[in-house]
Amino acid sequence: MATEDVKATGWADQDHVPEIKSELLELNMGPQHPATHGVLRLLLETDGEIVYKVTPVMGYLHRCAEKIAEGVNYKQWVVYTDRFDYLAPMCCNHAYVTALEKLMGQEVPERGEHLRVVAAELSRIASHLVSLATFGLDMGAFTPLLYMFREREEILNLLERIAGGRMLYNYMVPGGVRYDVPDDKWIKDVLSFVDMMETKKVPEYNTLLSYNKIFIERTANVCVISPEDAFTFGCTGPVLRGSGVSFDCRRDDPYGAYPKFDFEIPVGQGQMGAVGDCWDRYFVRMLEIEQSCRLIRQALETLPDGPYQAIELKKPVKAPMGAVYSRTESAKGELGHYLIGDGGQTAFRNKVRSPSFCNLQVVTKVGVGQMVSDLVALVGSLDIVLGEIDR
């Protein structure tokens, strides 16, 4: 309706309210937006606050690492896996070397497997801390971020002492790990850190954030993902478990030393609302931190003596002709490698199935019909990392 018509009719005339034409507004969320956790662009079609269509646009961090995998040898490519999920690089290392060893038929010494578990679980805790902290930040809680990054700093210090780097480690090599435990004090420090996490820090986070009334109001019953949606969209990790499905590659498709250890798979219970809402996905991560602590303690208390590498560091590795799909549980979900060897020192094809890539697709369905501010909660609770999506 034209403006003159509105004026002529007059809003005071309640019997004759003019029909207001509305049309969908295209709104760009990102690529430079604090709530998209990286350079992700969400193209929204909105009517007021309601989202009618979500189209994720990605590729701003694309490096074509899979092409690089065809140009460098197997050992050199471990470096690139660090760059996928830069918040949990140890898990990415673990996924790649597991796939390569499956193709090669390579055994790994017990000590190497235990050290891999310790490193990967420490990295998982660090990743979950960042995830919980930034999710709180998205929901308007700034203080927990400072607390959680304080503990993450401890983990980075511990990993620096064993791997030499603070962020990108290149720690695992085919057939074992690169370095042994530096000294006995390191083991003591890790154990005391794990005890401190379990007894003090996790309850502290729960008081600060998990059971905060405002936080629950913002996340409970918001953007519920049903198990059927999670299956068909290929969601894995805390997103799938938040929907109440008890699935974890560490238990259901075991690899490495995980079958030896005793741990539980936390799932979303719907404590604050419906099963599979944002709060459930958040709280599953919190519970997983405790389980990771259990795993680290068991792995270090039963740390066997002996070698930690099966292959000399300088020796190049060769993989036979054949194709494998191997998957591991990264901090974000199922991180898989489809690896084709051609008998040489270089992969013929290496496809990376990254959990964030698959988890993000669910916003195209679940995000529809939500408020824009709830979409922020959804993207935050999926815990995506763009280095892994764009590869």
């Binding site: 590729g59 694309h62 068909t232 498709d253 002709m321 054949g322 369905k365 590869r391």
Partner: protein, 215 residues
Amino acid sequence: MEARAIYELLAEKIGDGALGFTEGTGDPVADVAPASIVDACTFLRDDERCDFDMMMCLSGIDWDGYDENGKGKSVSILGYTDLGEPETTERASDGDFGVAYDLYSHRLKHKFTLRVRVTREVASVPTVSGVWETANWHEREAWDLLGIRFAGHPDLRRMLLDESWVGHPLRKDYQMPSEWDAVRLSGRDYAKNPFPPIAPPETPTPPAGDKPAEG
């Protein structure tokens, strides 16, 4: 269920579409004709005994040069040799394209791998995005990086590269362009290596008189 038993169920269903079952190094894999891939996937998802509710991964593959052990067939990713000469392939690529589907059942906890193969001229496979939603993005990625078309895909756009990009980088015969959108890529020119290799220092030859006696 064992992969072979699943394959027998599948072969019963799709008949001539099942091309063979291979066990060897790596995962057991069932080869399926491209025309019957949608039937095969729908059957595997809906059948009670298979119940594959999740597609873990979909990988596009350029099989060019694989049968000859593959070594030295890929174009170097940098585009020039160690001596700074631009690297070109004289051999035209003629290998097939393939797509591998890795499936998983959460209820029955078993895995299965399907594989289709199409020629380079056709390079088109029916889409399975109607069977599992996650195939939608995986297929877009395979189209983007390998140039395999997925017939019937609802939204086959590029996923990771820009719409204006020319070529598909994961093809074995891909040549990186020297510029895109009037931007020189990484400042590297194909005709000239901006970082020429450093020649090893010449070792000084010792004067003849100082040469120690041999033996």
